[in-house]
C-alpha cells in the first residue's frame, strides 16, 4: 500500500495495495486519525485524573506521603488534557469548515430520516423479523448518535470545566451546577464510550480483539461491503 490513501478524504473510491493487489477503503484519513488519537489520549487522562476525586478514601490512602505530589500532577494533567481536548475540538471545527475532507465528513455525518428507518430495520433484523440488516452509508445511525453525543458531551464538560477553573469569578450556585454537571456528564461519557464505542471496536465478534482502523485508517473490501454497502455502491 502506498502512502497516498493516508491523505484521502474518506471517499468511496478504493485504493489498491500494489504489493498484494488487495483493495482498501479509507475510513479515516491522517488528520482524522490524529484528531482521534489525541482526543482519545486526552479522554483517558481526563477520566483517570477526574475520577481520582471520586475514589473511596481507602484508595487515596495507598498514595501515602506521595498524596500531595500525586494530587498536584493530577490537577496539572487534568487541566492540560482538558485544554488539549478543547484545542482538538476547535481544530475539528476548523477542519469541518475549511477542509474538503472535513466538509465531506460533515455532510456525511448530518442526520437524515433514513437513519431512523435504518435503526428500526436493524432492530427488526436483530429480532429475526428481517433477514438482512439495512445497507448503511458512510456513517450509519450508530456513528451519528455517537458523534452527536460527543459534540454535546465535549461542549458540556469543556464549558463546565472552564467555569470550575475560574470558579472565583462565578457565584457559588453556578460553580455547584458546573461541578454536578461536569461529574455527571463524565459518568455518562465513560459509560457510553465503554458500552457503545468499545463494543464496536473491541468486543464485536468480528472486530475482536481490536479494530485497527484508528491506526491504519482503512478497511478491506469485504468489511466495506459488509458494513457500508450503500457507501460502496456509490463508487
Amino acid at each position: 500500500m502506498g502512502n497516498n490513501e493516508l491523505v484521502l478524504d474518506g471517499g468511496s473510491l478504493p485504493v489498491t495495495d500494489t504489493a498484494t493487489g488487495k483493495r482498501y477503503f479509507v475510513r479515516l484519513n491522517r488528520a482524522e486519525r490524529l484528531q482521534h488519537m489525541i482526543f482519545a489520549a486526552c479522554f483517558i487522562v481526563l477520566v483517570i485524573t477526574g475520577f481520582m476525586l471520586k475514589v473511596p478514601d481507602r484508595v487515596v490512602l495507598y498514595f501515602g506521603q506521595f498524596g500531595e505530589t500525586v494530587f498536584s500532577y493530577r490537577s496539572l494533567l487534568h487541566r492540560t488534557a482538558g485544554v488539549v481536548m478543547i484545542l482538538v475540538c476547535v481544530y475539528h471545527v476548523y477542519y469541518l469548515i475549511f477542509k474538503a475532507a472535513g466538509r465531506r465528513w460533515l455532510i456525511d455525518m448530518l442526520p437524515r430520516p433514513k437513519d431512523l428507518w435504518d435503526m428500526r430495520d436493524n432492530f427488526l433484523y436483530f429480532i429475526h423479523v428481517k433477514k438482512e440488516p439495512p445497507e448503511f452509508d458512510r456513517f450509519c445511525y450508530k456513528h451519528k448518535i455517537e458523534y452527536g453525543a460527543l459534540i454535546a458531551g465535549t461542549t458540556i464538560v469543556s464549558v463546565t470545566g472552564l467555569i470550575l477553573w475560574s470558579q472565583s469569578e462565578w457565584s457559588k450556585f453556578v460553580v455547584d451546577i458546573a461541578t454536578l454537571v461536569h461529574g455527571m456528564e463524565a459518568i455518562l461519557a465513560c459509560l457510553a464510550i465503554m458500552i457503545w464505542h468499545f463494543y464496536e471496536v473491541l468486543f464485536k465478534p468480528h472486530k475482536s480483539p481490536l479494530d485497527d482502523t484508528w491506526l491504519t485508517g482503512v478497511i478491506d473490501e469485504e468489511e466495506m461491503k459488509e458494513e457500508y454497502a450503500l457507501h460502496q455502491k456509490e463508487s
Binding site: F63, G67, I127, W170, K172, L191, H206
Partner: protein, 385 residues
C-alpha cells in the same frame, strides 16, 4: 494478742509510708520537679483502677514524657486539686480555668486558661451558663476532648525538617540565656506555636469524631459532616495537600480562635455573610485559598446541601426521633433561605435528569449492543455453517 500484732504491723507500714513521703524519696530522674512526690506511686505503669462505669483508668505518669510536654513545668497539684488525702477520695476534676501559679510574663499575673474557658463557654461548643444551660450538654466537648497534653517536639519548619535545626538554633539561644532548661522550654514553647499541631486530615478526624454522628448533631440542630466530604475541599485534605482547607481553615481563619466558634449568623463569625470574602481570600494567612474571591462567590454555600434542605422539601424526617426532628427543622428554617432552597431544588432536578439520562442511555445502548452481539454471532454461525 493477734489483733495487737496486726495493729502494730499496720502502724509500722503506715509510718514507713509516711516517712517515705515526708523524706521525699527522689525518683532518680531530674526530668520533672516532683515536688508533691506523686511519682512515688504514679511511676508504676500498672497503677490504675476501674471506675463505677467499668472503664479502665490508668494513673501512670511517664515523668520524662510529661517533662517534655507543654505542661511539663507544672507541678501535679497545680491542676489536680484535692490530692491531699491518700487514697485520693476528694480529688476534683481538672478545671483548666484554675490559676496554676506560674507567672504569665507579659502581665506578671498568675497564669490561667480562664479567658479561653470563658470564650469557649460562650461558643457553639460551650455548655452555656448556669442560668441558661444548653440542652444535651453531655454531647458537648470538654477541653480534654480536643487537647491532650502535647509533647514539645523538635521544630520542623520551612528551613529544615531535622532535629539538627532545633539543636543549632537552641545552641545560639544558650549562648546568652545560660540556663539551658529555661532556654529549651522557652524555645519549645515558642516553636510549638509555629507549626500546625495537627495535619489537615487529623483536624477533620477530630471534628468528625462528633460531627459525623448525625443523631447527636440533630439534637443540636446541626447537620452531619457528610456535607463537607462531598466537597473539593475534602479531596485536597484526603490527598494530604499542605494547602488544603480543613474545618478550621474556614471556621477559624486568621484572627479567630478555635475556642470562640460562633454560629454563622453571629456578626463575629468568619462565616457571617459580611466576613466571607475575608475568610475565603484568607489575606495575610499562610494558606493560599481564593485571593480573588468576590462577594458573589464567597456568599455561596460551601458544604453540600444535606439533611436540612432535604427536610424542608419533605424528605428524611423519618430518619430522626421527635426531639431531633423538631430541632433540625427549626434550625433548617433559620439556616436555609428560600434562595438556598431554590438552589438545592435546581441541583436536585439536574441530578435526577442526569440519572434518568444516564440510566436511559445506558439501557438503550446496552440493549442495542446485546442484540447486535447476538445477531453478529448468529451471522458468524451461518457463515461457518
Amino acid at each position: 494478742m493477734k489483733l495487737n500484732a496486726l495493729r502494730a504491723g499496720m502502724v509500722f507500714t503506715s509510718a514507713v509510708f509516711i516517712c517515705l513521703l515526708a523524706v521525699g524519696i527522689s525518683h532518680g530522674s531530674d526530668a520533672v520537679a516532683d515536688t508533691g512526690n506523686c511519682l512515688l506511686c504514679h511511676r508504676y505503669p500498672s497503677i490504675g483502677r476501674y471506675d463505677e462505669e467499668g472503664t479502665k483508668r490508668v494513673f501512670y505518669v511517664n515523668d520524662k514524657k510529661f517533662a517534655a510536654s507543654v505542661h511539663g513545668k507544672l507541678a501535679c497539684k497545680n491542676c489536680h486539686v484535692g490530692l491531699d488525702k491518700i487514697p485520693h477520695t476528694d480529688v476534683k476534676k481538672v478545671d483548666c480555668a484554675t490559676k496554676c501559679h506560674l507567672k504569665e510574663p507579659s502581665t506578671n499575673q498568675e497564669f490561667s486558661h480562664a479567658n479561653m474557658v470563658e470564650k469557649f463557654n460562650a461558643s457553639v461548643h460551650g455548655r452555656g451558663s448556669a442560668e441558661n444551660p444548653k440542652p444535651f450538654a453531655e454531647d458537648l466537648p470538654t477541653c480534654k476532648y480536643c487537647h491532650d497534653n502535647r509533647m514539645y517536639n523538635p521544630f520542623q519548619g520551612m528551613w529544615g525538617s531535622s532535629e539538627a535545626l532545633s539543636n543549632e538554633t537552641l545552641a545560639r539561644c544558650i549562648g546568652c540565656h545560660t540556663k539551658e532548661d529555661w532556654a529549651k522550654n522557652f524555645y519549645s514553647h515558642f516553636t510549638h506555636r509555629m507549626r500546625q499541631r495537627r495535619t489537615h486530615a487529623e483536624v477533620v478526624k477530630l471534628c468528625t469524631s462528633c460531627h459525623e454522628d448525625s443523631e447527636k448533631m440533630a439534637r443540636h440542630g446541626v447537620e452531619s459532616i457528610e456535607t463537607f466530604k462531598d466537597t473539593f475541599h475534602w479531596n485536597l485534605v484526603r490527598y494530604g495537600v499542605k494547602n488544603a482547607p480543613d474545618c478550621i481553615s474556614c471556621h477559624v481563619p486568621l484572627g479567630y480562635s478555635t475556642h470562640d466558634i460562633r454560629p454563622r449568623e453571629d456578626p463575629v463569625s468568619p462565616l457571617h455573610i459580611f466576613n466571607r470574602i475575608k475568610t475565603c481570600s484568607n489575606q495575610g494567612g499562610m494558606q493560599v485559598c481564593h485571593p480573588g474571591a468576590t462577594a458573589q462567590f464567597a456568599g455561596g454555600r460551601v458544604h453540600a446541601y444535606g439533611t436540612k434542605a432535604q427536610m424542608l422539601v419533605g424528605n428524611r424526617i423519618s430518619d430522626y426521633q421527635g426531639v431531633e426532628t423538631a430541632r433540625l427543622l427549626k434550625r433548617a428554617e433559620a439556616d436555609i433561605s428560600p434562595e438556598d432552597l431554590f438552589h438545592f431544588t435546581v441541583l436536585k432536578i439536574i441530578k435526577i435528569v442526569y440519572k434518568i439520562l444516564i440510566g436511559g442511555t445506558i439501557l438503550f445502548m446496552g440493549f442495542h449492543q446485546w442484540l447486535d452481539f447476538l445477531a453478529a454471532k448468529r451471522k458468524q454461525k451461518q457463515l461457518k455453517g
